[in-house]
């Protein structure tokens, strides 16, 4: 199990398109992956768009991405990098 934290940098937060991008990327990994708000949120399935949208992660929200499985390191690194890139918005 591996976890890393990062911040949501997009102006409009983790809304539909960036969240979709995150989900699609997460699905390419075998590990189970969760994302949670560090301000007391529960971890939710990072491969489920509706779960991510339900968390309402706006710009500036600090989140933790955790993965558990054979490709957990690649998964966490890739998703952290994707979030830091601002999804090219």
């Amino acid at each position: 199990m591996l976890a890393r934290q990062t911040i949501v940098v997009n102006k409009t937060g983790l809304h539909a398109r960036p969240a979709s991008d995150l989900v699609l990327r997460a699905k390419t990994f075998e590990s189970t992956i969760t994302i949670k708000r560090t301000d007391g949120g529960e971890p939710v399935n990072a491969k489920s768009l509706v779960r991510i949208l339900g968390e309402g992660m706006s710009m500036g929200t600090k989140v933790e991405i955790a993965a558990d499985g054979s490709d957990e390191k690649e998964a966490v690194d890739a998703l952290i990098a994707l979030m830091a890139s601002g999804f090219d918005e």
């Binding site: 809304h15 539909a16 339900g54 309402g56 500036g60």
Partner: protein, 583 residues
């Protein structure tokens, strides 16, 4: 004895004209027959007693078919309508959502629900979860989820969909609400307007209408009372629908349609073209931003003249770290795609409050320890911001600008901070652009009057006309009592601007205006006439400035500006501008 109009009307049975009111979703005018769009609402009663194996198969076949439908919609729109393609791509992601599908499975296997009931239960459960999040845009996503749900239900129940794809005459569509699936194949040739009972300015109907440039009214209560085929006049500027308009109303509306369409066409021309005077001289226009991202609506502009960074410091419970600032600055440079971004260091003073830092309590915060002065007193703030900015400079074209510079010594002192930051980054092995241009805001009169000297020292400058005017006229622009004394079109301010622009042009140092004046069309004319070649403004003002600049030659603007400098006061200046504009 005569009859009143009303009794005549009652006798002849003429219907009273009805008007309906709503909110403007997309501006414009239209007149056409109403087409009532009321697709069958699929209401599912949750039923159990299904054969789980059969229902699972039905569910999966429906999912498969829905995916195919979406794939062909996306394919069809991929070249013609990127926004629609994106919406349906997002719908596909919902269709393949692990947790959503798991919910539906559980409903079938655990509670023996029919496939329809399982879909209804699972999707509505998630719609409820989403509605609890505080996100502004969440309404759109909930609508998306329901759109996908309805697609699946139509497949499962075999109920076909009333479409808006094929009309033989012009219509104005009226509906309770419109979803992306409803409008996927909208006949853009014949649909001249949209009116929905529900929705607001950010609902799908409004967004679609604005992107298609079709007038639309949303939130229009009772509009479904209008009979199918009735002639309606749509005024989406005042947000009024008139049923069975009379001859005068029809004539007026037709005129409005023509005028509006001409104005739009003219504005559209300027959106994607660079600013030029009548005699083809280029004027550089930039935009001011105050966040990590911005919507330029596809407009052309030359640079980002002012990147305000205060938002990073405000509405936060801690001082922004170098890392947090760096990520935001890098994002901005990325979005700018090579255009120059002028980052202004923190410009905060005692008129604001920060939860994590006690700002000095002063009687005159605008004349107090603010912006650069505050940074000199608290070096960590400036050093952190500079380190973050320099690191970001490796990712685009960055310039750094210091606010509230009072004297040349201030600028030189700021330069030593930059050197310190660069040295620290070198020691850390961090990359940065060694040639980052450094400049100042000209807003304090003391530095404005030293324009001849400062122009030879800085790489560039931008005039903050709001604060400059405030200090020059000694009037707080936020104080209603002295509003008349804040005179940004007074010969006094214009003379000072003329001096600044002259000296910078002489020295060959770029100078721009980033205050509100830059976005005011008449002021923009005057500033260009004074020799200013760069103006930065809110993105919403680009088109009107481009439009006015295109109407006059540089010579005309020069003559105008020079004549204003000799006038007595702001009132005379405004009158002169008025006569100039009409001639």
């Amino acid at each position: 004895m005569g009859f009143t109009d009303r009794s005549r009307a009652e006798i002849s049975g003429v219907r009273q004209r009805m008007k309906y009111y709503g909110i403007s979703g997309a501006e414009g005018y239209a007149i056409a027959k109403a087409y009532r769009y009321a697709p069958v609402q699929i209401k599912i009663q949750i039923t159990t007693g299904g054969n789980p194996q059969e229902e699972m198969e039905r569910l999966h076949n429906a999912l498969k078919e829905a995916k195919q439908q979406l794939a062909s919609l996306i394919d069809g729109f991929s070249k013609t309508d990127a926004d629609k393609a994106k919406i349906f791509s997002a719908h596909q992601v919902f269709l393949e959502d692990e947790d959503l599908i798991e919910e539906a499975h559980n409903a079938i296997t655990g509670e023996s629900m029919t496939a329809e009931s399982a879909v209804e239960t699972a999707f509505e459960m998630f719609a409820k979860i989403l509605s609890k999040s505080g996100d502004e845009l969440i309404g759109e996503r909930i609508a998306d989820i329901r759109d996908v749900k309805n697609r699946l239900l139509r497949i499962l129940t075999g109920i076909t969909h009333q479409t808006l794809s094929d009309f033989t005459e012009d219509v104005i569509v009226i509906a309770s609400d419109l979803s992306p699936s409803d409008t996927a194949t909208l006949d853009r040739n014949h649909v001249k307007g949209l009116v929905t009972e529900l929705g607001g300015r950010t609902s799908h109907t409004a967004i679609l209408a604005r992107s298609y440039r079709i007038p639309a009214i949303v939130g229009c209560k009772d509009i479904m009372n209008v009979p199918d085929g009735a002639l309606i006049a749509l005024d989406a500027v005042q947000a009024v629908v008139t049923v069975e308009p009379d001859e005068n109303e029809i004539a007026d509306l037709k005129k409005a349609v023509i005028a509006f369409s001409a104005a739009q066409k003219s504005a559209r021309q300027f959106e994607t073209l660079p600013a030029k005077t009548l005699d083809n001289k280029r004027v550089q226009l930039g935009i001011n931003i105050g966040a990590a991202g911005w919507d330029d609506h596809g407009q052309q502009y030359d640079f980002i003249g002012l990147f305000r960074t205060e938002f990073l410091f405000m509405e936060r419970d801690h001082m922004p770290t170098e890392e947090e600032q760096f990520e935001v600055y890098r994002m901005v440079l990325r979005q700018a795609r090579g255009k120059t971004v002028t980052l202004r260091t923190m410009d905060i003073g005692g008129d604001k409050s920060l939860p994590y830092y006690e700002l000095p309590n002063e009687d005159n915060p605008f004349l107090g320890l603010r912006a650069l002065r505050l940074c000199f007193a608290q070096p960590e703030i400036l050093l952190t911001q500079l380190c973050a900015a320099l690191r970001a400079s490796a990712f685009g074209n960055l310039q750094i600008m210091f606010p509230m510079v009072t004297c040349i010594a201030d600028f030189k002192r700021a330069l030593t901070f930059v050197e310190t930051a660069k040295q620290e980054l070198r020691e850390r092995g961090e990359e940065f652009d060694g040639d980052v241009k450094l400049g100042i805001m000209i807003e304090v009169p003391a530095i404005a009057l030293m324009a001849d000297q400062i122009a030879k020292i800085v790489d560039f400058a931008s005039v903050g006309t709001n604060d400059l005017c405030q200090y020059v006229c000694a009037a707080d622009r936020l104080n209603a009592n002295v509003r008349d004394y804040y005179q940004n079109m007074s010969p006094a301010l214009l003379r000072l601007l003329a001096y600044i622009i002259d000296e910078f042009n002489k020295a060959g140092t770029p100078v721009s205006v980033c205050g509100e004046m830059g976005g005011d069309p008449l002021a923009a004319l005057v500033l260009s006439g004074l020799g200013l070649k760069k103006l930065s403004m809110n993105e919403a003002d680009l088109v009107s400035v481009k439009t006015i600049l295109s109407r006059y030659t540089l010579q005309q603007m020069r003559a105008l500006a020079n004549s204003l400098l000799r006038l007595e006061g702001q009132m005379e200046v405004c009158e002169a501008l008025k006569s100039f504009a009409v001639s």
